[in-house]
Structure formats: C-alpha cells, structure tokens
C-alpha cells in the first residue's frame, strides 16, 4: 500500500465532508454554544448566561404557545395529509386513464415554490375579495376571516400545507399499493373477505412501512414550517400562527437576541432528533413483506 492508496479514499470523500461539516455540523455546534450566551450579533463581547436562555424560554407563555401552535399544526397537517392521500391513492390505484391526469394535477403543487403558493393562497383566502369566501357564499355560508382571525388562521395554514403535500404523499401511497401483488386481493376474495376486512387486515398492515415513512417525513417537515407563515401571517394574528422556526427567525434576525433564538433552535433540534431516532428505530424493527 502506497501512501497514495491510503489517502485516495479520504481525498474522494473530502469535498462532501468539508461542505457537510462547514454548513451542517459546525452551525449545529455553534448554535449550541451560542445558546449559552446573551449576544446581539453586533457587540464584540458575548455574555455567558449558562442555561438562563432555556429557563427564560420555557417560562415564557409566548414560547409555550409557539410550541403548542407547532404541535397542533403538525398533528393536523400530518393526519390530514396522510389520511386524505391514502384515500386518494386507493381511488387512483384502480388504473383508469383519467386517473393519470388527476395524478399529474395533484402532484403539481409539490413542484411549485412555496412562495408562489403562499401568495396564491393569500389571495384565495382574502376575507373580502377571496375566491374561497365567494365559493362558500354560493352554498349560503357567511364569510370566513381565514388568516385574519386567530380562530381560523392556523387551520388555514394547515389547509395550504395539506394542499401542497397531498400530491407527493399520494404518489408514494400509490407506489406502496402497487407493490402489493394482485393475487393477494384474489386470495382474499376467495377467502370471502369483505372489502373493509381486506383493507384493515391486509392492505393497511402491508402499507404500514409506507404510512410510517410518510408520517415521520411529514412530521419533521411540519415542525420546521416557515415560508407560508413568514409570507402569509408573520405569526399573527395575536401570535396564533407563530411556530418554532418562525419564532427562532424573529428572535434571531429581527430582535437580534441570538442566544435566546439559539436556545429555541436547540429545542427544535432535540424534537426533530427524537422523531428521526424513532423513525430509524421503528424502521429497523418494521415488518417488511416479501
């Protein structure tokens, strides 16, 4: 083994390791470091405050509301996206030519930029001139305030997230459904299985790896929601749509309390980290068919 042979593999992986370290590993540790200080980004001195930032955060009612907003948003988004896309996938999986068009249509939101989507839905949800209020008006309902009222603002954001996510989720579900061999359904029909029994006893368990994958991916994504909030509500009204990442952004880059924001970042990191661990842990124990 020459020196070249020994070094070559390291040389090969070096570029990605350097980029990964510089833009992922280093910021994470620097954030952890910053979370122990009081600093405004500008002053030359950082004041060490220990875990005071965390204590402040957790005793702050606003932060608790942010956590609760984020959780409610995540649970609703994940449940609705996964549930609706499973239903859609079951319907689309029957393979009519029309379904190809529908599949393309529901997938398109996935490739549109979030900024465009946010602007689009801001118009649609405009309380005075929005299309949505006009449509529900046709059915005789009163006008909704959508993003402008604390009672409907969070659910309005959930609707946007579901609308964007449903295409991708449906596509993954269709792939999952198509990997179930047709003769399983045939065997079930010979076993006098009713459609509901076939679905709950055979299809759902066989789809469980897919469902699980989507739930975790959607959860991680939802916990980090930012763009729609920054563009559509800026966390308002009355903090009703303020979520973790937006909160971090506001404290870090608008109020310049970088230590405080870093502490919130650490909490987000812990939450996402736990979700990821759960994902890998359960994934490895998961029953895979075939």
């Amino acid at each position: 083994m020459t020196l070249w042979h020994k070094l070559r593999p390291y040389g090969m992986v070096a570029p990605s390791i350097i980029i990964f370290s510089l833009f992922f590993i280093y910021p994470i540790f620097y954030m952890m470091y910053l979370s122990l200080f009081d600093w405004n980004f500008i002053s030359p001195t950082k004041t060490f405050v220990g875990i005071q930032n965390f204590v402040d955060l957790l005793s702050e009612p606003e932060f608790r509301q942010v956590l609760s907003n984020t959780t409610v948003y995540t649970v609703l988004t994940v449940a609705l996206t996964t549930g609706l896309s499973l239903l859609l996938a079951l319907w689309l999986n029957r393979g009519h030519f029309l379904y190809g068009i529908v599949q393309g249509a529901i997938f398109s939101p996935h490739i549109i930029s979030l900024v465009s989507i946010s602007l689009l839905w801001s118009w649609l949800m405009d309380p005075e001139y929005g299309l949505l209020n006009w449509v529900i008006g046709l059915f005789g309902f009163g006008k909704l305030q959508w993003l402008s009222h604390p009672s409907t603002s969070l659910i309005s954001l959930v609707i946007v997230a579901v609308w964007k996510g449903i295409g991708y989720n449906t596509l993954v579900f269709i792939a999952g459904l198509q990997s179930i061999p047709a003769d399983i359904y045939e065997a079930a029909s010979l076993d006098r299985s009713k459609p509901w029994t076939t679905f709950t006893k055979l299809i759902l368990p066989m789809l469980s790896p897919t469902i699980f994958f989507l739930v975790i991916i959607n959860m991680i994504g939802s916990f980090q929601v930012f763009e729609t909030i920054a563009i559509m509500t800026q966390g308002g009204p009355v903090n009703s749509t303020n979520t973790l990442v937006y909160y971090i952004y506001e404290y870090g880059f608008r109020f310049f309390k970088i230590g405080y924001a870093s502490a919130a970042g650490v909490i987000l990191l812990v939450i996402v980290g736990i979700l990821t661990l759960v994902y890998f842990k359960l994934l490895s124990n998961r029953v895979h068919y075939r």
Binding site: P181, D183, I184, E186, A187, A188, S189, L190, D191, R192, S193, K194, T197, K201, L202, P205, M206, S208, V287, H288, Y289, R290
Partner: protein, 357 residues
C-alpha cells in the same frame, strides 16, 4: 365434491379473443389437469371457474348451480396460486384461519381445524411464524393448508409447483396425488409441463390457442392423440412427425388425404436384427444422449430429423443407422392436423426417404 360444467365459454380482453366457445365437463372427484403452452388460455379458464375473471360469454356450472354471477368467495372453491399469495403480515395460523374467520367459524372450532390441517401438511411447528421466514416448500404447504381448511367443493391449483426446485417439485407432486386420494375432492390443476400433467392427472385437457385440443385420460392421450398438436405436445421427446411429401415412395391407402406420418421415438427400432413389417428409415446419428437406462438419438434422414429412444441397450456407435417402425405404431394425420384413422401402408416392406430395406 362437485362436477364442473363449462358451456360455450368465451373470453375477450379488450379486442383480443383468448377463448372461444369452450365446452368442458370436469368430472366429480377427478384430478383434471389443464395443460398447454403459455398463452393458451388455461389459466384464464381456471380463473373463470374460480370467479377471479368474468367470462365474456357462456355459462359455468358447479354441480346444479350456475355460478355466472356468484362472487369467488361464494363458489365454494379454493385456490392455490403460483406465487402462493400468502398474506405476508399474518402468521401461518393467521393465513390458514383467515377464510374461516370470514365465514364466522367459532374460535374453538377454528383452532381444532387449524391444528388438524397443520398436522396433515406438517406445519405444526411453524404456526406462529410469518411466511417470509419459511422456505418455498413450506410456503407452498401453507397455501395448500389455507385452501384445504375451508373444505371446498373444488380445488383449483394454478401452476403451484413451478416455483419449487426439481427435487421438491417431485416430492410435492406425490403429496398432491396422495392428498387428492385422501380428500376425494375435484382438483383442477393448471400446468404448462406435460410431464407434470401426465404424472398427476387422471383426466388431461390439452389446450392450444384458447381451444381444447383433446380431453382424455393420460394413456389415451399418449396412445391415441386426436391431432398433431396433442401428438407433439405429449411425450419426451415428442412424437416424430414427418411430412408426407418428404417421404418418397411411400404409398398410403386411406379414405382421407394424409399429410403427415408420425411415430413415437420409443417405437423406432434401431438397426433391427430381423426384418420388421413397417416403415424403414435410413439416417445419420446427429446427437446421442445417454440417460443411463435409456438413450436418445437424434437422427437426420432424408425425410427429416427425428428422435429414437432405446431402453436398456448399449449406446449405438455407428454413424449411419436404419430405423424400423412397425405398421401398427404409425400414426397418420391429415393436412389440417387432424388424426386420420384407418390409414395404412400399401406394401409390407417399404422404402422411404431413399432407404433400402
């Protein structure tokens, strides 16, 4: 126990007609094998009997009921699939008792049935395992047990052995024959393997291009093929068929025009030591296959290539040989491929393909 009757069945997929006007009676308690090359419609026929495929025309009767509009689960048939189609998320027990649960069989009765059946097929130690941790043969047994436990009137098996290795396949073949004897239920079995069909079936239905070529017992099929297709499909090697126009000087007396003459490879006598009354062909040995008890020769004659099979004889080393086929072992077919009965050779000893007697 059930008799199955197919009356004028046809099946079209989009514009393509797969089966046209198929009539067949499957006898009660028989082991009927549908055999034919791939794409001949045998699996489709089977799936129509099971109700997994809806026929485009005609009627299917099981016993005295027309099952045209009966869903698969209510036809009292059980099926073993080529890829087993086991429920991967259920244990072996779950797989076997799923059909019973759906029929509302009470728990203790179910347990007893599962216990009995798993002992018959030798699965008792594996009841709590998942199918993916079992071997191919064991999975096959689970599929069988799942079908048997429902005590169906008809057993339907769609190429159930094709995923097993040769040794296991032979073993399962014997087990299936024994199972059929023991249950006495009607078995309908699909295979593309004529050896499997011959060894298992007591009634064989040879199919080609969506039509039944011949339905008979194995021996009848072998000794008395109704047409060229059956003659060339059954037997290893298949029957030698020669074009009449390639056989110079052969004079056949027959009521109907004869297009082809055939004989089984095992009926050809290699270098006969006594004169034989029949057809004599002279040719050159192209290949020799020695299988121990039997030898198979491929011979090129002026009338075409043919095979000869000999039993318990030393391997022939000469390059050119004479092959004699006795009169009564010759088969005659018309130009349309149908069998011509009552034809015969004009003279007692014959010269064919330039060979000298």
């Amino acid at each position: 126990m059930a008799r199955i009757l197919l009356k004028g069945i046809s099946k079209t997929f989009k514009d393509e007609t797969v089966i046209q006007d198929l009539n067949l009676e499957i006898k009660d308690g028989s082991f009927t094998v549908l055999v034919g090359p791939s794409g001949c419609g045998k699996s489709t026929t089977l799936r129509m009997v099971a109700g997994l495929e809806k026929q485009s025309g005609g009627e299917i009767w099981i016993d005295d009921t027309c099952v045209n509009d009966t869903p698969p689960g209510m036809r009292d048939v059980a099926m073993v699939f080529q890829n087993y189609a086991l429920y991967p998320t259920m244990t072996v027990r779950g797989n076997i008792e799923f059909g019973l649960k759906n029929r509302g069989v009470p728990r203790n009765e179910r347990d007893q049935l599962v216990k009995d059946i798993s002992e018959i097929v030798g699965l008792a130690p594996f009841l709590d395992k998942k199918p993916q941790s079992l071997s191919g043969g064991q999975r096959q047994r689970v599929a069988l047990a799942r079908a048997m436990v429902k005590k169906p009137k008809v057993f339907i098996l769609d190429e159930p052995l094709s995923n097993l290795d040769a040794k296991l396949r032979n073993q399962m073949r014997t087990e299936l024959i024994q199972l059929h004897k023991r249950l006495g239920t009607t078995f309908v079995y699909v295979t593309h393997d004529q050896v499997e069909a011959m060894s298992m079936g007591d009634e064989i239905v040879v199919m080609n291009k969506g039509a039944i070529q011949q339905a008979d017992s194995p021996m009848k099929l072998y000794q008395d093929p109704a047409n060229l297709f059956t003659a060339q499909f059954i037997g290893t090697p298949a029957m030698n068929i020669m074009n009449l126009q390639d056989m110079k000087g052969l004079d056949i007396r027959s009521d109907r025009p004869v297009g082809h003459v055939g004989f089984r490879p095992e009926q050809g006598i290699l270098n006969p030591d006594r004169p034989v009354e029949g057809l004599v062909l002279k040719g050159e040995i192209v290949t020799r296959e020695s299988l121990g008890a039997e030898n198979i020769y491929q011979i090129r004659s002026e009338a075409g290539m043919f095979f000869v099979k000999t039993f318990l004889k030393p391997l022939e080393s000469a390059d050119t040989v004479q092959v004699a086929i006795p009169h009564d072992q010759l088969y005659y077919f018309g130009k349309d491929g149908g069998r011509v009965y009552g034809a015969g050779l004009q003279e007692r000893l014959l010269v064919a393909g330039g060979a000298v007697v």
